[in-house]
Symmetry: C2
Subunit: 660 residues, 2 copies
Amino acid sequence: MESRRGNQMTEEESAARRIQRLSSHISPALTAPSSSSQAPLVQREVCSSRTKKVNVNSQALSVYMRGKHMDVQEKVYEFYNSRPDLQTPIEISKDDHRELCMRQLLGLVREAGVRPFRYVADDPEKYFAIMEAVGSVDMSLGIKLGVQYSRCYNILLDWSNVQGLQTTATFDPITDEFVIDTPNDGAIKWWIGNAAVHGKFATVFARLILPTHDTKGVSDMGVHAFIVPIRDMKTHQTLPGVEIQDCGHKVGLNGVDNGALRFRAVRIPRDNLLNRFGDVSRDGKYTSSLPTINKRFGATLGELVGGRVGLAYASVGVLKISATIAIRYSLLRQQFGPPKQPEVSILDYQSQQHKLMPMLASTYAYHFATVYLVEKYSEMKRTHDEQLVADVHALSAGLKSYITSYTAKSLSVCREACGGHGYAAVNRFGSLRNDHDIFQTFEGDNTVLLQQVAADLLKRYKEKFQGGTLTATWSYLRESMNAYLSQPNPVTARWEGEDHLRDPKFQLDAFRYRTSRLLQSVAMRLTKHTKTLGSFGAWNRCLNHLLTLAESHIESVILAKFIEAVRKCPDPRAKAGLKLACDLYALDHIWKDIGTYRNVDYVAPNKAKAIHKLTEYLSFQVRNVAKELVDAFDLPDHVTRAPIAMQSDAYAQYTQVVGF
Amino acid sequence: MESRRGNQMTEEESAARRIQRLSSHISPALTAPSSSSQAPLVQREVCSSRTKKVNVNSQALSVYMRGKHMDVQEKVYEFYNSRPDLQTPIEISKDDHRELCMRQLLGLVREAGVRPFRYVADDPEKYFAIMEAVGSVDMSLGIKLGVQYSRCYNILLDWSNVQGLQTTATFDPITDEFVIDTPNDGAIKWWIGNAAVHGKFATVFARLILPTHDTKGVSDMGVHAFIVPIRDMKTHQTLPGVEIQDCGHKVGLNGVDNGALRFRAVRIPRDNLLNRFGDVSRDGKYTSSLPTINKRFGATLGELVGGRVGLAYASVGVLKISATIAIRYSLLRQQFGPPKQPEVSILDYQSQQHKLMPMLASTYAYHFATVYLVEKYSEMKRTHDEQLVADVHALSAGLKSYITSYTAKSLSVCREACGGHGYAAVNRFGSLRNDHDIFQTFEGDNTVLLQQVAADLLKRYKEKFQGGTLTATWSYLRESMNAYLSQPNPVTARWEGEDHLRDPKFQLDAFRYRTSRLLQSVAMRLTKHTKTLGSFGAWNRCLNHLLTLAESHIESVILAKFIEAVRKCPDPRAKAGLKLACDLYALDHIWKDIGTYRNVDYVAPNKAKAIHKLTEYLSFQVRNVAKELVDAFDLPDHVTRAPIAMQSDAYAQYTQVVGF
C-alpha cells in the first residue's frame, strides 16, 4: 500500500483526522506508583471523598456576563465564519498578512456593515465589544482596528517619554500652517501602527512652538497632538518631507504594519491641531481652558487612556479563548486511571486542576473588573468629571498591566497543559501568545504603569492624612488603614471554619489589610531613604516593594468587583458557580502570599493550613462545574477554532471520520 | 524629499540602523514621582549606599565553566558564521525550513567535518557540547541532529504510555523476519521527528510476539526496539505497508519534519531487533540477561535517558543566550535618572535586577548541575553500574523538567524586560521561546517526570527505614531527615547576620530541611488517604504536594552542586563572582517559600526580613558584576545575533551608522 505523503489534505483537515484518533489514542493504565489497592472508585471521587456538586446554569450565567453587546459580537463572528477567504491561514508571510488584515478590516466595515468608528466616542462599551470579537478572528485585526479607528494606539511604545519628546510643531503665521520637524534620529518614533504600509495620516505628538515678540522669539507651549498626512490620498505615495521606515518582522501581530516616522519641515494647516485642550488663533495667540503645561499634558495623555482600557478588555478576551481551549481539551482527553477502572479525564488530576482552575476563576474576576472599567471609562467620556478622570487613569494603568501580565503567563501554562497537541499550530496557543505578548509593553510598559499606580496610592495616602477626599476605587483605604494600624485580632487569626474562610468580608479584609500594610511600610521607607539617596534613589531602592503594593491594590479592586458581581447575580444557579470561582480566586491569592500574613500573625499556622486545604478543595469543586463555567463564555467552535477543543457534538463527529 | 519606503535594506541592516538610534533615543528625565531632592549621586549608588564591588575575572571564569569542549563548539560557531547561506532567515516557510535544516546538518557533517555520531556512545560530553552549539544556530537543527544521530528523540511525545503501546513485532520463523503491525488508528505514533520528509529508518517500539508451541500459540515478550526502513534508500519513496502523515505546522521547531507512522504487515530482517537487552535466535528462542518484562522495559527506557540529559543541557544553552541578550541590552540601554544627572542603565533599576539577576544566578546553577548530570551519564554509559542507572534516571527526569520549565518562563521575562525592542523578531526571543517551548513536553511531560522523581524519593524513604543504601544524589536525606524529625533550633532560627545567611551550610540545611519535611509529610498523607481512596486516588489527592517535593529535592541537588563548584574554583576572582551568584540563588529560593519556613519557626520573623533584604542587596551586587558573569558564558555576537545585545565595540560601530 502506498503512503499518502503527497496527500492533498489541508492542515485543518489533517488536524481533524488527528482529533479523531486522539479519542482512541489511549492505552491501558501504566503508572500509579505502588498501586496495590483495587478499591472501586467513582471517577469524580478520585480527588475527594466530598462529592456534593454545585449545580450551575451556564445559560443564565452567560446572559449575566455578556450583557447587551452579544448581538454585535455574534454579527462579527458570523461574518468571518461565512468568509473563509478572510480567515488567516496558519502559514502566511508578513507582507501577505498585512494585506489580508487590511482586507479583513475593509470587509467588516464595507460588507458586514459594522462601523466601529461611530462608537468610539458615543458608545465605548459597544466599541470594545466589537474589538474583542474582531481580536478573536485575528489579534492583528483587533489592533489594526484600534489604530485605524480610535487613534488610541498610534503612539510610541515607550510612551512614558512623551513629555520629553523633541519633535516640534512651529506655527508659521504667514502661511497659517504648522511646520513639523524631527530634529534628530533619536527623536524618531518607532512602532507606529499602520505607518509602514497603509496609513494616510498620523497623529503626531509634538511640542507646540509659537513665535513671540519678546527677546526669546519663541515660546514652547508643551506637547500637543496634530494630524499629519503622510501619504497622498490618491497615489498613496509618501508625501514630501516624510520619511517612513518599516519596523519589519515582529514576534507576533505581523498583520499590523509598524513603521518609524521622521518629519523634515512638513507643513500642515493650522486646523490639524487637535484643539480640545489648547488652540491657536489665526494671529498666533494661544488659548486653553487649562492653565499650565503640565495640566494640558495630563489632559492630552488622558485621551490615551482608551488604549489601556481596550488592551485590558481584549486581554481578558484572549484569556477566555485560551482557558476555554485548554479546559475543554482537558475534559475530553482521558489518561490513566485506577486499576481496572475507566480512564479519567486529565482535568481530574489535581496537578491539572492546579494549573487551570485558579486561571478559570481569574478569568471571571478580570471579566467583571474590565466591564466595570469600561463602564467608568464611558462615564468619564460623558461627564469629564475630574475625580473620575483620575480614577480611570490609575485603574486602567493597573488593570492593563496586571491582567496582560497574567494572560501572557497563562498562555504558556495552557500550551503546556495540553502537551504535544498544544504545540500543533492549529491549536492556536502559539499565535495567541505571540500576538498577545506585546500587550505587556505597549500603551505603557507594565512595570512603568504599576509605578504610576503606586505613585497614585502614595498621593492618596498623603491626602488622607490631610483630610482630603478619596476617589471611589480608593476609598476602602481609609477603613483598612485603620485596621492595619491596630494589631491583628488574635481571635479571628485562629478562625478556620469554611464559612469564615468563604465569607467575602474575611477575604476582602485580608486583601485590603495587605495593601494597607504595604502602603504604610513603603511610605515610611521612602521617607527614610529620601534623606540619604534623594527621591530618585529612594524610589528605586523601594521599587520591588512599590510594585508589590500596586499589584496588591489592583487585586483588592478586582476582588471587590467580583464579590459585587456575585452578590448582584439574579439567577441562583448562575450565582452558585460564580461564588465558587470567587472564593477560589480570593483564597488562592491569600495562600500565595501566606508568608506575609503569617509574619504578622494575621493568620495562625493552622488557619494557614486550612486556607491551603480549602483552596485545593475549591479547585476540585470548580473542576466539577468547569464545563458550565467555560460554556458561559459562549465561545462557539468557529471562534475557538482549535480542533482539540471542539465541543462534545463536534468532537463526536470528528471521531467518525475514518483514518488516513 | 522622497521617502525610502521601497528601500532595499535587509531586515538585519535595518535592525542595525535601529540600534544606532537606540543609543540616542532618550530624552530628559520625566518620572521619579515627587522628585525634590537634588542630591548628587554616583550612578552605581542609585540602589545602595554600600558600594563595594566584587572584582570578577571573567576569562578565568569562562575557562573554568566551559572546560575541554570549547574547541569543537568554536568550530561549529565558525562554520556557520562563515556560511550565511546556511543561516535561518527570519521569515521562512515550513517546507523551506525543513530543507534548510537538512542542508545545515549535511554541511556540518560533510563540510565542517563535525561528526556527532561517533561521540554519542564514546564521548557523550563532547556530543552534548556539539548539540548545544548547533542548537544556538537554529534549535530545529539541534533537535534534528538529536533525532538523526542519537536516536534519543524519535519516540512519541506521550512516551509515558510506551508500556501500553499496541504495535506488535511478530516473529515469522519461516522467513526469519519480524512482521510489524499497528492494529488500529489509536496506536499510531505521532510527532516522530524526521518522519514526515527526510527519515529513511525509524526506531519503532513494539511488543515482541513469539510463536509458542503451547495452547496460546504466541507469547508477548514485552516492549522492544526495532529498526524499520520507512523509505527506499535510492528513490526515497515510502515503502509498502508504511503510511506516513505529516504533523504539519508546530508552534516552533518547524525545521524538524514530524510525522505519524502506521505499519501494515511490514517485514524486517530479524537482525533489526535492537538486541541489547533481549534477543531472538534463528529458531525463535528468546534470550535475555534480564529476567522479567518489567526489567527489560526499564532497561529499554533507560536508553532513552540520553534524550532527557540532552534537553536539560540544551535548555541551559538557550537560557544562557536569552539571559545574555536581555542583560547586555539592559546594560546598554539608559533611561531616566536623578535630576540633573546622567541617565542610568535600565539594569540599575531594582525592578530590572529583580527580573534578571536571580535568572543569571540560576543560569550558573543549572550550568553546573547539567555538567554534573552529563558526567554521571557518561560514567553510567561506561560502567552500567546499577545504582548509577537509577540515580541518572531520576536525576535526568528531575533536571530536565525543572530546568526546561524555568527556561520557558525566563524567555518570556527576557522579552518583556527588553520592551518593544524585545518584540522585534531579529532580537530572537520569539523564535527561542517558540522552539524551546516543547522541551517541557517531549521526552516526558514535566509534570509526569516530576512524579517519577517523587515516586523515587518515596522509594528511597522506605528503604532508609529498612536500612537500605542510598544513591549518591539522595544520601543527604539520611542526615537531614534526622534534622527534620527534631525541632528547629530556636537559637539559629534567630541568627540573621550576613555571614550566617551566606554560609553554605545554613543554605543547604534550609533547602534539605524543606525537602525532608515535604517527604515526611507526604508519606504520612499518602498512607492515610490510601485507606479510603486507594493508591491511585491517594496519589492524586497529594499530587501538588508530591510535585512540590520533587522540585524541592531538585533544588537541593542543584544548590549542592553549585556550592561544590564555588568551592572547587581555582581562581579567586572567578570564585568571588560565583559565590555572589550562588548566595543569590540560595537566598532567593528560601525567600520564595518563606511561608513554609515561618510556619514551623525554622526562621524567626526578623530573620525572614533579613533574608529578603539580603536577597535584594545580592541582586544589586550581582548586577555590578553582571557584565563579567555574562561575558564568561563566552557567547560572541555572531552566536547571540540579536542586534540589541551587541557588545560594546560592535555597539559603538552601530552608533556610527547614519540614519536612514
